[in-house]
């Protein structure tokens, strides 16, 4: 069992990133909370898991990704369900004061939700975690070329989807 202060430090350093990744990946606040709980409970019970990790953030995101995939598989048609109920998605971006920015963030959130989960994961890690394709490949256990192609496909779709709004507010 790790020291409680170690677990608190781990939470303070990485929980925000895990939260954003999981919320973008699952598109469900309750699932995100359950998965975060699962990850920290696992680490509290098996502290040896983290000892061998070179990059704790990457290791934790990998844990989160695997746990989220397991959850989605258990639920079966979750992806389809989220695609159909895009209007009810939780906000994944911070609220903006500018109405144009608010509209852009909402549109971006919807466009991200329309991406396949594997593309969405790569786009998130590249754009908001600033990971290289090699790091993304290692984190998600995929080849670097696959990570790069998924990112390119994902960003192209976002660009297409957001072009009118982007041109307008640019």
């Amino acid at each position: 069992m790790p020291d409680e202060s170690d677990l608190q430090r781990l939470y303070d350093e990485h929980a925000q990133a895990l939260f954003a990744f999981l919320l973008n990946f699952t598109r469900d606040e309750n699932d995100t909370r359950d998965l975060l709980q699962e990850i920290f409970t696992r680490i509290a019970r098996q502290p040896a898991l983290l000892r061998g990790a070179r990059d704790k953030r990457a290791f934790l995101i990998r844990l989160a990704h695997n746990a989220a995939i397991d959850l989605i598989r258990r639920r079966g048609t979750r992806e389809k369900y989220h695609g159909q109920l895009a209007e009810e998605m939780p906000a994944i971006f911070a609220p903006a004061e500018n109405p144009d920015e608010t509209a852009f963030r909402e549109s971006l959130s919807r466009a991200l939700a329309e991406l396949p989960a594997d593309q969405r994961a790569v786009v998130h890690l590249k754009l908001w975690e600033n990971l290289t394709f090699e790091q993304i490949a290692e984190t998600l256990d995929i080849p670097p070329n696959t990570a790069a192609s998924r990112y390119r496909y994902g960003v192209d779709k976002l660009r297409e989807r957001l072009r009118p709004l982007y041109e307008e507010i640019k």
Partner: protein, 142 residues
Amino acid sequence: MNTDEFEKRLQRQPLRQIPAEWRTEILQNAVPAPNSSSVIRHSFLSTLTSHLSALLLPHPKAWAALGAVWILIFALHVSSRDSVPQMAGKTQPSSTEIASNLRDQEKILAELIGNNEMPTADRPKRLPPQPHSERRETTARA
């Protein structure tokens, strides 16, 4: 649309903050409470005690009397169980007694018969089986 510009624009979008109240909940749930098994055992015992006291407290004298009756029954049962082997031991005759009784009974039987034991000479002798040819001769002579 410049690709780099678009991607930079996406990168600048601030992600939503994790709810502050989650921290306490998640960390508390992640670390199991110390001695949870003893807490469970203690709560089980206290529940049992409270149930028993709730059952017994309304009529303590009646329950005490019932308990005394059960103790008396148990004591009687134990004492009667101890006495049974002694009685059995007393009634069971020894092998020498049985032998002497048998001898007495034989004597009485002999007296009743009249003490006229047949002389050994009168007793029919058992002959060993003879060959068939000799048997035939004996029968013919008779």
